[in-house]
């Protein structure tokens, strides 16, 4: 149920984002979604890709420092209050979210959110118990045209 996310350290200056993206593009690896977190001096690029093992290898051989993190994808109704409802469930269950970002694609009336939890296994348990749908890797691929 958990997804493997690649994180890269980037300096916060012009042109830095392009290099790693080109490196994996050159290998024909498709990015499913990404997010950027940054400070004035540096940032972290987080990627969900089709073939994370190969992408990790490509990036490392090109000299990037790559960190592997487990994240959880959850689909929520794509309407006002859809996300708030999911967050309320997480809050009530005392689950700590380290960060989250939206998946770039949607399917039908569903939007997908990527969560980084302190304890991903417990989060999956709680979410499933509360009737939320956790999207696994294979299903995620089906979102991509």
């Amino acid at each position: 149920m958990k997804l493997q996310q690649l994180s890269l350290f980037l300096e916060n200056r012009p042109g830095r984002l392009e290099a790693p993206l080109s490196a994996i593009a050159a290998e024909g690896i498709n990015i499913l979604t990404l997010s950027l977190a940054d400070t004035a001096q540096f940032g972290i690029l987080r990627l969900i890709v089709r073939d994370w093992e190969r992408a990790k290898r490509v990036l490392e051989q090109a000299g990037w420092v790559v960190n592997l993190t487990e994240v959880v994808a959850v689909d929520v109704l794509d309407r006002p209050g859809g996300l708030a409802e999911a967050l309320r469930i997480l809050e009530d269950s005392d689950l700590n979210i380290e960060y989250m970002y939206a998946f770039s694609l949607r399917r039908g009336d569903k939007a997908i959110l990527i969560f980084r939890f302190e304890d991903p296994d417990r989060a999956i348990q709680v979410l499933t118990d509360k009737g939320l749908h956790v999207v696994d890797g294979e299903e995620l691929m089906s979102f991509v045209p």
């Binding site: 830095r16 972290i44 420092v65």
Partner: protein, 445 residues
């Protein structure tokens, strides 16, 4: 017949190493005899030495004991520049078989010369260096010191051959090929600068090659100061024993001193290079064991004798006997050079202090660079540190935390504020020779 005596994998003994084990009295006799001869040679053939001795009312006969060396004038690096190119040669060019020159970051390089005998002595001390680091006939030695004007490449080459090792003269650079040959040729020993080897280790990891699984067992590193922390990192990452060697072109090149199996100080080949430690401020000799500037006199150099050459390297002499059995004295590893030091806001800073601070936080030494700038008359010091897999976590807070800890660690040691910047891997220029740790832009613009 001689070959029978050569040291081998069973722990034999290389005859060239014999002087390492001379009894103290015999060693002092050899030193005095050679000192008197070299002073006489320098006085007779080099104008600068003659004038300086005359000024002090000294003649070669003034040297009656080893202690008398302290009366002789010092030689400094600028003397080599001022007499560029051949002014300090004591042999006619017809006897000079080799010239080397330093890279010299500013102005003219310095030139050094060797007669055939000098090349033989150099080969001998380098063979003793390698023997001291546990090498023997049958070892396959990859020589990644730069060949050319720099003394490292050819010095190690001749020494390796004299020892009876198989030398691969690959020179510096082309890291992927270095790693390929280490693997394909079953290389058992490698010599280069410690910073370049750190780069090789890093590259091998990217290529998914585990150096620990290869036959490589010894690394011989020199030409720049490095720390024990760096040694532990290299030894663990590459599965080797890492030895420090010391030398400088002005004296002969590599081959002045080398560690032994004890890895506790470097044995100075003092039958050829006479060491003194002086107070760098006053020039007065310091008692054994005290830290100061290393001064060396070449006892057997023909083409270019150096009398009391001030190395700018800070160390101390160890007089206690060594567990390896060598009787020649040791010096502590050079942690700093007096000319590596820079002054910022009135504080004397050595790059080794910054290294120690970074190492205290990360456990290993990351690639780093110190950048000095001036803004509005105020000096600023920035330290750029490359992010390593060990410290990179998928969280901004984690990175901010490591950044703050690195900055605090440096500030605690130096007592001045530094701007610490985390930078991407491979953004700090790698050196195939000596690493450039300090970029001083205070006088630009």
């Amino acid at each position: 017949m001689l070959k029978e005596l050569w040291n081998d994998a069973e722990g034999g003994f290389h005859p060239a190493s014999a002087p390492d084990f001379l009894p103290q009295t015999a060693l002092r006799e050899v030193q005095l005899r050679r000192l008197r001869a070299v002073v006489a040679r320098a006085y007779a053939n080099v104008q600068l030495f003659r004038e300086r001795m005359d000024e002090r009312g000294l003649t070669p006969e003034s040297i009656q004991s080893l202690q008398d060396i302290r009366h002789l004038p010092f030689t400094v690096k600028t003397d080599l520049r001022d007499t560029y190119p051949f002014g300090l040669f004591a042999s006619p060019m017809s006897d000079v078989v080799r010239l080397h020159a330093s890279s010299g970051t500013t102005g003219k390089p310095i030139v050094v010369a060797y007669t055939r005998e000098d090349v033989e002595v150099w080969s001998e001390v380098m063979a003793r260096t390698f023997a001291s680091c546990g090498l023997h006939r049958g070892d396959i030695l990859q020589n990644a010191f730069g060949y050319g004007l720099f003394t490292g490449g050819l010095g190690a080459h001749y020494g390796g051959e004299a020892l009876g090792a198989t030398v691969i003269p690959i020179s510096g650079g082309n890291t992927d090929r270095q790693i390929m040959l280490i693997r394909d040729f079953n290389v058992s020993a490698l010599c280069c600068t410690p910073s370049y080897f750190t780069h090789m280790v890093e590259r091998a990891r990217e290529l998914d090659i585990d150096l620990r699984e290869l036959p490589l067992r010894v690394g011989i590193f020199g030409a720049e100061p490095w720390t024990d922390g760096m040694r532990h990192h290299i030894e663990a990452e590459a599965g080797i024993k890492a030895y420090d060697i010391y030398g400088l072109s002005e004296i002969i090149g590599p081959g002045v001193a080398a560690e032994c199996s004890a890895q506790d100080g470097l044995h100075i080949f003092e039958d050829h290079f006479y060491p003194e430690i002086i107070d760098p401020e006053t020039g007065e000799p310091l008692p054994d064991g005290e830290e100061g500037e290393l001064v060396l006199t070449t006892l057997s150099k023909k083409a270019m004798p150096m009398i009391r050459y001030r190395t700018r390297d800070i160390t101390s002499l160890i007089t206690e006997s060594c567990s390896c059995g060598r009787t020649i004295r040791r010096m502590r590893r050079i942690g700093r050079r007096s000319d590596d030091m820079f002054i910022i806001r009135g504080v004397n800073v050595f790059p080794s202090q910054v290294e120690a601070a970074l190492m205290a936080v990360e456990g290993t030494l990351p690639h780093y660079q110190i950048i000095l700038t001036r803004k509005g008359g105020m000096d600023r010091m920035a330290v750029e540190v490359e992010v390593t897999p060990e410290v990179f976590s998928d969280s901004i807070r984690g990175l901010e935390d490591i950044r703050a800890r690195l900055a605090q660690s440096i500030e605690r040691i130096l007592g001045i504020r530094v701007e610490l910047r985390l930078v991407e891997p491979h953004t700090i220029a790698r050196s195939e020779g000596k690493a450039k740790r300090v970029i001083d832009r205070r006088h630009e613009g």
